[in-house]
Amino acid sequence: MGILRAAWMITRKDLVVEVRSRELIYTAVFFAISCLLIFAFAFVQDGRTVEHAPAGILWVTIVFAGTLVLGRTFERERQAETLRALLLSPIERPAIYLGKLFSLLIVLAGVQVVLLPLVALLFGAPVLRAPFMLAGLLALGTIGFATVGTLFAAMLTRVSSRDVLLPVVLYPMTLPALVGGMQGTLWIFAAEPNYALVQNWLAMLVFFDAVFLTLALWSFTPVMSE
């Protein structure tokens, strides 16, 4: 069995568990909507949004909701020590990482599907101005965040203060991807969009993601070996 097939089995299992419990998606969506409403009260005055705010609001909300989901992803595996069962199975260890990463990305994509129309509605963000570029930025930025986040969440599974430590170690490491995603989105939403800059940020995100994913796959096996 190949690594991708093993990873897909873990993803599918996670999705079945999520569909039944709806724990992650409900928590993340509820949290994200609450964030947006708070930002709406702070940044929208007389029907006008503070310039450049929607891009930042969108990415801050994605990151906060993503951190919530990340913490729970491995917490589920810890509760009945099923992470040990996965490590005891004969699949290649990076398949576990990829499986968890894929399921996290699918849940975060679901959160973003809810978020985008709300950002358009509450802040007047032109989300349909360059839909493919925006989708690319969201996908690549989220992948960058999730590749590092999945690795750290796995590393911290056995640490008692993992809920506190995860954001502390995660945010500085994922800053390049988050800044890239936010800057690209900002130039799509700007009064005078600059698509050449958006393309530059997209290229940077591809580079960041490739580096993050390579490092994460390379380090997951030694990190999880004890």
Binding site: M1, A6, M9, K13, V16, V17, R20, S21, Q79, A80, E81, T82, R84, A85, L86, L87, L88, S89, P90, I91, E92, S225, E226
Partner: protein, 243 residues
């Protein structure tokens, strides 16, 4: 044998002078044991004696600090991932997903071990039958009692027909009938040529099924005195002499 275990087989597992520390705390010190195919080895000792650590090292989840373990003629590094397909582990925690049904749990783990199609479905049916859970196969595990989960976890560990079976407290939460079924299952495993290492505090049950016994105390092997007395009495003497 599962598809993933092709080419990996062994008749003996030799633990050679294995030590293991957690920080400065010694969990195992110079432990040497040999397990042969078709035998059941009882692993006894007080709490914190190192039993679970030894099972962790045997399962390849923990690396020994010093010493080595040979599965047949090779070490875990030489066998690679295929070795794990020949090991079945029942831990203190049961390694089951509460939101999945019994059948889904078995199917998920069966596939991880390379089983698929009709072979996998047949084994799942047999496993549920052995666990006396055929009627509850489509129920979520979160609704099961501790004993039912324990029975399912035993079958999950054995689904891929492992050569080396590692059981940590397998009788926990089982009623008399389930204990009898598990004892019978252990005898079947022995007859099939599997080697079983079983850590338990249920010495009275274990006495009727094990072929050999070792006792750990403070991470060291302690000899269990021979004699006509029951295992519980001899174990007590061994622990007192060590302690």
């Amino acid at each position: 044998m599962s598809a993933r275990a092709d080419g990996c087989d062994f008749d003996v597992v030799a633990i050679e002078n294995v030590s293991r520390h957690y920080g400065r705390r010694r969990a195992l010190a110079g432990v040497s044991i040999e397990c042969r195919a078709g035998t059941i080895l009882g692993l006894f000792g007080p709490n914190g004696a190192g039993k679970s650590t030894l099972l962790g090292v045997l399962s390849t989840l923990l690396a020994p600090g010093t010493g080595l373990i040979r599965y047949g003629t090779r070490t875990p590094g030489e066998w690679g991932d295929a070795l794990r397909a020949r090991i079945g582990v029942l831990g203190h925690d049961l390694f089951l997903y509460g939101d999945l049904t019994a059948r889904e749990n078995l199917r998920f783990f069966g596939r991880l071990y390379g089983l698929d199609g009709a072979v996998l479905e047949t084994r799942i049916d047999e496993a549920l039958d052995r666990a006396a859970l055929s009627a509850r196969g489509h129920d979520r595990v979160s609704g099961f009692s501790r004993g039912m989960r324990q029975r399912l976890a035993v079958e999950r560990a054995l689904l891929h027909e492992p050569r080396l079976v590692l059981f940590d407290e397998p009788f926990t939460g089982l009623d008399d009938a389930s204990v009898e079924r598990l004892v019978q299952r252990l005898r079947e495993l022995r007859a099939s040529g599997a080697m079983v290492v079983m850590a338990t505090h249920d010495l009275d049950i274990a006495e009727g099924v094990i072929d050999d016994a070792v006792c750990l105390h403070g991470g060291r092997l302690v000899p269990i005195p021979d004699g006509g007395d029951g295992l519980r009495l001899r174990y007590r003497r061994a622990v007192e002499a060590a302690g």
